[in-house]
Amino acid sequence: MRVLVTGGAGFLGSHLCDALLADGHSIVCADNLLTGNLENIGHLRNEPRFEFREQDVCSPFDCGKVDYVFHFASPASPVDYLEHAIETLQVGSLGTMNCLDVAKKYSARFFLASTSECYGDPLEHPQKETYWGHVNPIGPRSVYDESKRFAEALTMAYHRYHEVDTRIVRIFNTYGPRLQLNDGRVISNFMKQALLGEDLTVYGDGSQTRSFCYVSDEIAGILALANSEEHGPVNIGNPNEFTILECAKVVLDITGSSSRIRFEPLPQDDPRQRRPDISKAKALLGWEPRIQLRDGLQRSLEYFRSAVAKAVKA
């Protein structure tokens, strides 16, 4: 297959490119490099089946005939989407429409990378795909949440009205090599602090919980869904919960860091927990995550070490 991956120079997009190449496909990787990074795909530069295009998908574009469109372009970490608020809304709306138009034109299948943020600040735990979400449409995070909710609506509309063959994945917290160091979330913060020998900052008493999915599990789930016939949204994430304090201790342990843990007051907007209910993915795709936190962090350690070393040098 010839496959278009938008956001292919991003964290997840670049891992998706790797996996698709390994499966023998050819790739057109489109990215405007707003938050993507060429270093994520530097190793693919000489791969003849890989073509990079500096392309903003918010303008209509044509990459030639493709068989599958994976739309992964969007700022995704809170740090990024709060900084690039308008661009985030544009890529979810205009960008998704342009990508759907490419899929429609070439009768290609279409795959939307959506997010657990669609559930907003959920009133139901854990979240099943049938939950409609609880989103403040005018809150600061709405730029991402509503952008992705609109993208889902648009995808379903193209499926219903234009008969485009579509898939929607709702991605939960994912980590691994190539995660941005300044991602602003707990794993990159802890890894950075531990490797720099700084105190690990834990807000509140550290008893609040998070769940994280290792990137290879996430990609395996995405590919399983891509190869299925399911059009409705599917949660892909790791439901295992860790307290922030447990997470900090694992990081200290695997990095061998002598950093200490420093407690600070809980900020007001600290998001309440989201945890995927993955029974649909299990039943439908036979997929479930296999790599647990300690193992995943161990596999990410080398990347974080070099990223921290590079950041210090620059």
């Binding site: 405007n32 490099l33 707003l34 990074n37 060429l38 270093e39 990079f52 295009r53 500096e54 392309q55 040098k313 620059a314």
Partner: protein, 333 residues
């Protein structure tokens, strides 16, 4: 570190590339060869850390990739030289402004450091020497094409400062004063290479006006020292720096010196500006930088003497002429 040099096949750009390679950095060059030359970077091509693209900075897609890859951008690409400005004013204005717009807007995405190469031309007809960075710019009428260069560079400076103030992109501006050295070509009206070639071939050394106008010449190695120092300095953001030497010499003295140093039989002749350029051509009598701001921030001082500069240029031009087989018996062989 990864460094992008636009106009990296140009005279100053190629020396800058050489320096960063020597510092152990990875150097990316983009140059459309409109005034640059592959010959300037021929010797760098073998270097594994040197990557170049023969392309225009107007290729936004390519530029977006290069800016994304690099930590620092030196925007040296410009339409330069008095001759070119008079002959192709549209190209001069558009190249200089559009290129800078593209570089700055791409650098904004991830707040990359940008050094914009400007010119002592922006001081225009200012008569009070030495020139300080916060002095008024005194430009001539828009009907006089020569001022379009100064004005386009002034717009570049405004843009760079605005990107720092409004969008927090770390920019710095270097106003280069008559930079000279090996690889500079006289094709675009640069005085020293022209005099040297004229002297080496025993042709008339053509001094424009009465030759009492003076300039300060900076060896390119000194200029590169300064560029590298300000580009790396965190306190330089949003600021303008004069880069040059304050050693002044009249053009007539310069012609005489070059004639002596080359042992040339050339005559020195005075050519009115109106013959050399266009009717009503305006030139500046003196152009002396005040480099105290640069010195305070970086400890910079020009180190290469004018004699050493001239020697290196005479050597360079001799080699080029010998290659082309046009060197007459001036060397005594």
């Amino acid at each position: 570190m990864k460094v992008l040099i636009t106009g990296g096949a140009g005279f100053i750009g190629s020396h800058l590339a050489e320096r960063h390679l020597a510092m152990g950095d990875e150097v990316y060059v983009i140059d459309d060869l409109s005034t640059g030359s592959v010959a300037n970077i021929q010797h760098l091509k073998v270097h594994p850390e040197f990557l170049y693209h023969i392309d225009s900075v107007n290729n936004v897609h390519l530029m977006a990739e290069l800016v994304d890859l690099c930590d620092v951008i030196y925007h040296m690409a410009a339409a330069v030289g008095v001759r070119l400005i008079l002959d192709s004013p549209v190209r001069t204005i558009e190249t200089n402004i559009r290129g800078t717009e593209i570089v700055l807007s791409l650098a904004e995405v991830k707040r990359k450091r940008v050094l914009i190469a400007s010119s002592s031309e922006v001081y225009g007809k200012q008569e009070q020497v030495p020139f300080r960075e916060d002095d008024d710019l005194v430009l001539g009428a828009t009907s006089k094409a020569r001022w379009s260069y100064a004005c386009s560079k002034a717009i570049d400076e405004f843009l760079a400062i605005a990107y720092w103030k409004e969008k927090n992109v770390p920019t710095v501006i270097a106003r280069l004063f008559n930079t000279v050295g090996p690889r500079q070509t006289g094709r675009y009206g640069m005085v020293i290479p022209n005099f040297v070639v004229q002297a080496l071939t025993d042709a008339d050394i053509r001094v424009f006006g009465d030759g009492t106008q003076s300039r300060c010449f900076t060896h390119v190695n000194d200029a590169v020292d300064a560029l590298v120092a300000v580009a790396a300095h965190p306190d330089a953001n949003g600021q303008v720096f004069n880069v040059g030497s304050d050693h002044e010499i009249t053009i007539l003295e310069l012609a005489t010196k070059i004639k002596e140093m080359t042992g040339s039989k050339s005559r020195i002749v005075l050519v009115p500006y109106s013959t050399a350029y266009e009717e009503g051509f305006e030139d500046m009598m003196r152009r002396v930088p005040d480099v105290s701001k640069l010195n305070r921030l970086t400890g910079y001082r020009a180190r290469v003497s004018l004699e050493d500069s001239l020697n290196s240029i005479i050597e360079d031009q001799r080699a080029r002429l010998r290659e082309r087989g046009t060197l007459k018996a001036v060397t005594g062989n």
